[in-house]
């Protein structure tokens, strides 16, 4: 293997030490490293000091809070998310999304925080250095061209974390630590520029994810090249609340089709309070297809990914219907 270039690995045990370590120039948060380490070795990521989050107890907790919400520490692994009784019980769509990530070993290592902050991906960039040498340096690597979207002034690399749409559909909030703590809905976390895709200032980190009390019913779907370990070529999650004989307040999110998740407002308007016939679900899927504009920088082709979006959304909505019938509503 290519040895990593010299760097420091810092292993803080408490919150203060963590924030102090992250404030240093060149410091980068290290979750499980399942994306960062390959990224460093292919010179896709940089950092002089990797600050491991695993030793900070506050980041490793899954807590049910008094108000009924659940607080998930950023360093909880995806394997833990997928099997935690609190998650399986109230947020099964999140467990499904966590289980859809990579392989068994990757889920044992990868954290939910790393999944939400995961670097964007692109077929023209996620390649060994020698391969990339043949291409002009693109925006994300500090150049002034995009091979995927030559007319674009910004990088359009793909947000590939599978838990993102599930968390967005559930209405999750992110707790950020840094100079001051702040909280924001997950869908506001992504800038839309693939080269700087998350809004974290220097020294900040994602500390926890808050899942709401009384969550809506939700479902997650993913499309990828091989069913085994591949990154999503498109994924989607939907949620809604069954009240007085109809689905209300639907939320429809599609992701892995660009640098930020896409909320399909038109589909939500169509679905809210309506009779969810098969035709309606298909129409909602079609609205989702029209709302996304993937570029040719995934593994599979653009037309296929668009068609997949239509199917993913329609089927996820069907999953909600099935869940309702199973509960006898």
């Amino acid at each position: 293997m290519m040895p990593l270039r010299p760097l420091a690995v810092v292993t803080p045990r408490g919150e203060e030490e963590l924030l102090r370590s992250l404030a240093v120039e060149g410091a980068v948060p290290l979750g499980g490293g399942s994306d960062l380490i390959p990224g460093l070795s292919w010179e896709l990521a940089s950092g002089d000091a990797l600050v491991s989050l695993a030793g900070v107890p506050a980041l490793r907790r899954t807590d049910a809070l008094a108000d009924g919400s659940v607080c998930l520490g950023a360093a909880v692994t995806l394997a833990e998310v997928a099997r935690h009784p609190l998650i399986l019980g109230a947020y099964p769509a999140l467990a499904d999304a966590a289980r859809a990530v990579g392989s068994w070993e990757l889920r044992a290592q990868g954290t939910i925080g790393g999944n939400v902050c995961l670097a964007t991906r692109c077929r023209f960039r996620n390649q060994p250095p020698l391969w990339r040498d043949a291409l002009q340096t693109c925006y994300q690597s500090g150049g002034d061209v995009c091979h995927a979207a030559p007319a674009s002034r910004t990088c359009v690399a793909i947000l590939s974390g599978d838990t993102v749409p599930a968390l967005a559909a559930l209405g999750a909030q992110l707790e950020i630590w840094g100079h001051a703590a702040r909280r924001l809905p997950i869908e506001d976390f992504y800038s839309g520029d693939g080269a700087h895709h998350i809004s974290l200032a220097k020294g900040e980190l994602l500390a926890a994810i808050h899942l709401p009390a009384d969550p809506p019913t939700a479902a997650f779907r993913k499309w990828r090249a091989r069913e085994s370990i591949d990154f999503p070529e498109a994924n989607a999650a939907v949620s809604a609340v069954w009240r007085e004989g109809a689905w209300r307040a639907p939320r429809v999110f599609v992701s892995a089709v660009g640098p930020a998740p896409v909320r399909v407002v038109a589909a939500e308007a169509l679905l809210d309070g309506a009779d969810w016939s098969e035709d309606l679900l298909r129409a909602a899927g079609e609205l989702a297809r029209k709302a996304v504009h993937p570029y040719d920088n995934g593994q599979l082709n653009v037309a296929g990914r668009q068609i997949a979006v239509r199917g993913l959304v329609a089927r996820a909505l069907g999953d909600l219907q099935n869940a309702r019938r199973e509960r006898g509503l």
């Binding site: 293997m1 010299p6 690995v9 290290l30 491991s52 085994s228 370990i229």
Partner: protein, 168 residues
Amino acid sequence: MPESVLRLIVNGRPQQLVAADEMTLLEVVRDRLHLHGTKDGCAAGSCGSCTLWVDGVPRLACVTLAKTVQDCEIVTIEGLAGWWGKQHAADAAELHPLQAAFAEQGAVQCGFCTPGMVMGGAALLRDTPSPSRAQIQEALSGHLCRCTGYEQIIRAVQAAGRRMLDEA
């Protein structure tokens, strides 16, 4: 260049060495401890051939920084039979039942993926004594094999699972 004293228990034996911070667990195991059973394949988390156990959990050594597993117990393919023997005091094992099953079922051709497959499969059988075909496929989904077509590998896990249940 930051470095530190690394303490690990590898295949039951305490090890102490000075390692640079950027060293992966794979480099420590192969280049410093000379345990070459753990393979260096893609070095990017994609092939599964570097799988070993960290505190009993199958992990990819190529994307694990050694310093982040300080004081952990590591089991590599070289130590699997020993680990198995210890679990079954009566049985002075030369091979873990899954290793024997791999040989019997022809689940090995070039052999490069085998150590990783066996470490993943053995962890599955430890936690799920009688796995379904789907469970085996899911557990081994991060392991690439370019020779066998996977069929014999799945059969080996099933055969080992049956034998382990019979002997339990």
